[in-house]
C-alpha cells in the first residue's frame, strides 16, 4: 500500500485540527486535574494498540509477530493502569460537605 497524496492531505488536516482542538481543550482543564489529565491522555494514546493489532493480523515473519505481540502487552498495561489510576485519582476529589 502506498499513500495517495489526498490521504496525506486529509491526514495532515486531521492532525492539525486535532492539535488545535487538543490545545484548546487542555487549556481549559482545571489545574487541580493536571495529574489525572496526564494519566488519561496517556491512556488515550494507548489506542496505538490498534496499530499493533493491524500488524498482528497478517505478520510477514516471526520477527514482526514478536514485535507486535510485545507491543500489545506493553500498550495493554497502559490501558488497564491508565484508566484504572485515573478513576482512582478522580474519586479523591471531593467538595466540602454542605459547601455552597
Amino acid at each position: 500500500m502506498t499513500l495517495a497524496t489526498t490521504d496525506l492531505q486529509i491526514n495532515l488536516i486531521v492532525f492539525l485540527l486535532a492539535t488545535f482542538l487538543g490545545l484548546e481543550l487542555v487549556r481549559h482543564v482545571s489545574r487541580l486535574l493536571h495529574t489525572p489529565l496526564m494519566a488519561l491522555t496517556n491512556a488515550i494514546s494507548s489506542v496505538s494498540i490498534v496499530a499493533a493489532l493491524i500488524v498482528l493480523a497478517d505478520p510477514k515473519d516471526d520477527l514482526v509477530l514478536i514485535l507486535a505481540t510485545v507491543a500489545v502487552a506493553l500498550v495493554f498495561t497502559n490501558i488497564v493502569s491508565g484508566f484504572g489510576l485515573t478513576e482512582r485519582i478522580l474519586r479523591l476529589f471531593k467538595q466540602r460537605k454542605g459547601n455552597k
Binding site: 499513500l3 486529509i10 491526514n11 492532525f15 486535532a18 492539535t19 487538543g22 481543550l25 481549559h28 482543564v29 489545574r31 487541580l32 486535574l33 493536571h34 495529574t35 489525572p36 489529565l37 496526564m38 488519561l40 491522555t41 491512556a43 488515550i44 494514546s45 489506542v47 496505538s48 490498534v50 496499530a51 493489532l53 500488524v55 498482528l56 493480523a57 497478517d58 505478520p59 520477527l63 514482526v64 514485535l67 505481540t69 507491543a71 500489545v72 502487552a73 506493553l74 500498550v75 495493554f76 498495561t77 490501558i79 488497564v80 493502569s81 484508566f83 484504572g84 489510576l85 485515573t86 478513576e87 485519582i89 478522580l90 479523591l92 476529589f93 471531593k94 467538595q95 466540602r96 460537605k97
Partner: protein
C-alpha cells in the same frame, strides 16, 4: 463491509476521546470523561478486531493477560506519592510499544517501502526510542534508583546533539537505502542513547517539565504511526496527547520562568546548577528557630492560615497530618486555605492529588495567581516542604538565578512558619531570604513529626 463499519467505529472513538477531554475540564464531570475515554478505547479495539482477523489469537491472549497482570496492580496499588514515577513508566511503555510497532511495520513492508512512509517511520522510531529511554531515566530518578541530581559535564549539549545527529544521519541513510535493514538497530541505539543523555542531565525539581515533554513526545510518535498506517483515530489520539503534554510543559516552564526554547532543547537544570557555586545571601545573618509550642501560640491568635506545600511534603508523607492540623484550626473558626505553586512536586498537579487523597476539599486548594493577592491579609502562612518557590529573591534580587520566577508571596503574610529539616538551600542551591525575615519562624525537623507535635500542642491548648 467490515472495513466500512470499522471506519465509523473509529469516528465514534474519536468523538469519545474529544468529549472525554472536554469533561475532564471540571471536577464534577471528570469521571464521565474517564469512562467515555475507556469506552472509546473499547470501541476502537473492538472495531479493529472485527475488521482485521488476528491469526495468532493465542499470542494475543497471552499479551493481553500479561498487560492485565502488570497493569492492574499499578492501577489499584500505586500510592499517590508515586504517581509521578508511574507516569514516567507509562510513557516508557507507551513509547516503546509505538517504536516496536514502527519497527515491525518497517520489516513488514520491506522491500516495497516508499520514501514518504519510511521517512515518517524513521522519525517515529527515533522519537519513540528516545522517549522510551528518557522516560526510563525519569522513572529511575523519581523512584530514587539513581541520584536525582543532574549529570553534567563540559560540552554535554554538544555530545547529546551529536548523538541525535548520528541517529538522524543513519535514518537518512536508511531512507536512501531502504533494504539496508542492518542500519536500523544502530539508529534505534543512538536514539536510545540520546534519550539517556537528555534526561540524565536534568535534576529532580525539573521533573514536572520533563514528564510533560516526554508526554508530548509519546503522543507525537503515536500520531506519526497514524500517518504511516493511514489511521485517523491514531492521528487524533496522538495529537490530543501531544498537545496536552505540550501545554503542560509550557505551563510548567512559565512557572519556572524558563524560556520555551530552553524547554524544547531540554537544557533544563543547567542554569540552576551553574548557580549553585555559592550562596547569595549569607552575610552572617541568623535565622530564628522556634518550637512547636511557639507556633501553636501564634495559631491561637490567627484568623486565617494558608498552607504552602511542596515536594518535601510528599517525601515526608505529611499530607494527612497537614489535614489534621487544618481540621483543628477550622474547628476553631480559622479560615484555612492551601496555596499551590504550579511546579510544586514532581509532576503537574501533584500536590492537588496528594491533598485530595488526605480528603482536603478541592475548593480549599488555591492556585498561585489566586492566593497571592490574599497573603497580606493572611495571619499565618505555613510552608511545608517547599523552598525555592517561596524565595522573595525571585522578586527583589535581579542577580539571583531565581529572579523573575513567579513565587508564592508568603513573605507578605503577617507570620511565616517554615518547616524544614535544616538550613540547607533548595534545589536551586540558592539560600532562601525568607529565612532571615523578622516575621519568619523557622521550625526545624521532619515535616511529618513537626506537624504531629503541632497537633498535640494545639489539642493541649484547649
Amino acid at each position: 463491509m467490515n472495513d466500512t463499519i470499522v471506519e465509523y467505529l473509529y469516528v465514534v472513538a474519536i468523538l469519545f476521546f474529544v468529549l472525554s477531554l472536554k469533561w475532564l475540564s471540571e471536577v464534577k464531570t471528570s469521571r464521565y470523561g474517564n469512562w467515555i475515554a475507556a469506552s472509546g478505547m473499547a470501541v476502537a479495539i473492538g472495531g479493529t478486531l472485527l475488521a482485521y482477523q488476528v491469526q495468532r489469537v493465542d499470542l494475543l491472549i497471552v499479551a493481553i493477560v500479561v498487560g492485565v497482570i502488570i497493569g492492574a496492580p499499578i492501577a489499584l496499588k500505586v500510592p499517590m506519592t508515586a504517581v509521578p514515577q508511574r507516569t514516567a513508566a507509562s510513557h516508557a511503555f507507551g513509547s516503546l510499544a509505538v517504536a516496536l510497532v514502527g519497527t515491525a511495520e518497517y520489516y513488514q513492508r520491506l522491500p516495497n517501502i516508499d520514501v514518504f512512509t519510511l521517512t515518517v517511520l524513521c522519525a517515529e522510531m527515533i522519537l519513540g526510542y528516545l522517549t522510551f529511554m528518557g522516560s526510563c531515566i525519569a522513572f529511575a530518578k523519581l523512584q530514587g534508583l539513581i541520584p536525582g541530581k543532574p549529570f553534567v559535564y563540559g560540552g554535554r549539549n554538544s555530545v547529546s546533539l551529536a548523538t541525535l545527529a548520528v541517529a538522524v544521519a543513519l535514518a537518512i541513510y536508511l531512507i536512501a537505502n531502504p533494504t539496508h535493514s542492518y542500519v536500523l538497530p544502530f539508529m534505534a541505539g543512538f536514539a536510545v542513547l540520546f534519550g539517556f543523555l537528555l534526561v540524565m542531565a536534568i535534576g529532580g525539581a525539573d521533573m514536572p517539565t520533563v514528564i510533560a515533554i516526554l508526554n508530548s513526545y509519546a503522543g507525537m510518535s503515536a500520531a506519526a504511526l497514524g500517518f504511516v498506517l493511514n489511521n485517523q483515530v491514531l492521528i487524533v489520539a496522538g495529537a490530543l496527547d501531544g498537545s496536552s503534554g505540550f501545554i503542560l510543559a509550557v505551563i510548567m516552564s512559565n512557572a519556572m520562568n524558563r524560556s520555551f526554547t530552553n524547554v524544547l532543547f531540554g537544557g533544563v537544570g543547567a542554569v540552576k546548577v551553574a548557580a549553585s557555586a555559592g550562596p547569595e545571601v549569607a552575610g552572617g545573618r541568623t535565622a530564628q528557630a522556634f518550637t512547636v509550642d511557639d507556633v501553636a501560640t501564634i495559631l491561637d491568635h490567627a484568623r486565617s492560615v494558608v498552607f504552602v506545600p511542596g515536594y518535601g511534603m510528599a517525601v515526608a508523607q505529611a499530607q494527612h497530618v497537614v489535614k489534621e492540623v487544618a481540621d483543628i484550626l477550622q474547628a476553631d473558626g480559622i479560615d484555612v486555605k492551601y496555596g499551590i505553586h504550579p511546579v510544586a512536586g514532581r509532576m503537574p498537579g501533584h500536590m492537588n492529588v496528594l491533598l485530595a487523597e488526605a480528603q482536603v476539599p478541592y475548593d480549599q486548594l488555591w492556585e498561585m495567581d489566586r492566593i497571592n493577592p490574599l497573603f497580606p491579609e493572611t495571619d499565618v502562612a505555613i510552608v511545608v516542604g517547599a523552598n525555592d518557590v517561596t524565595n522573595p529573591a525571585a522578586r527583589t534580587r535581579p542577580d539571583s538565578p531565581l529572579f523573575g520566577m513567579p513565587i508564592m508571596n508568603v513573605d507578605k503574610a503577617k507570620t511565616v512558619v517554615f518547616i524544614k529539616r535544616s538550613m540547607s538551600p533548595g534545589f536551586a542551591g540558592v539560600e532562601n531570604e525568607l529565612f532571615y525575615l523578622p516575621n519568619t519562624m523557622m521550625v526545624f525537623g521532619d515535616a511529618k513529626k513537626v506537624l504531629a507535635d503541632l497537633v498535640a500542642a494545639l489539642k493541649k491548648q484547649h
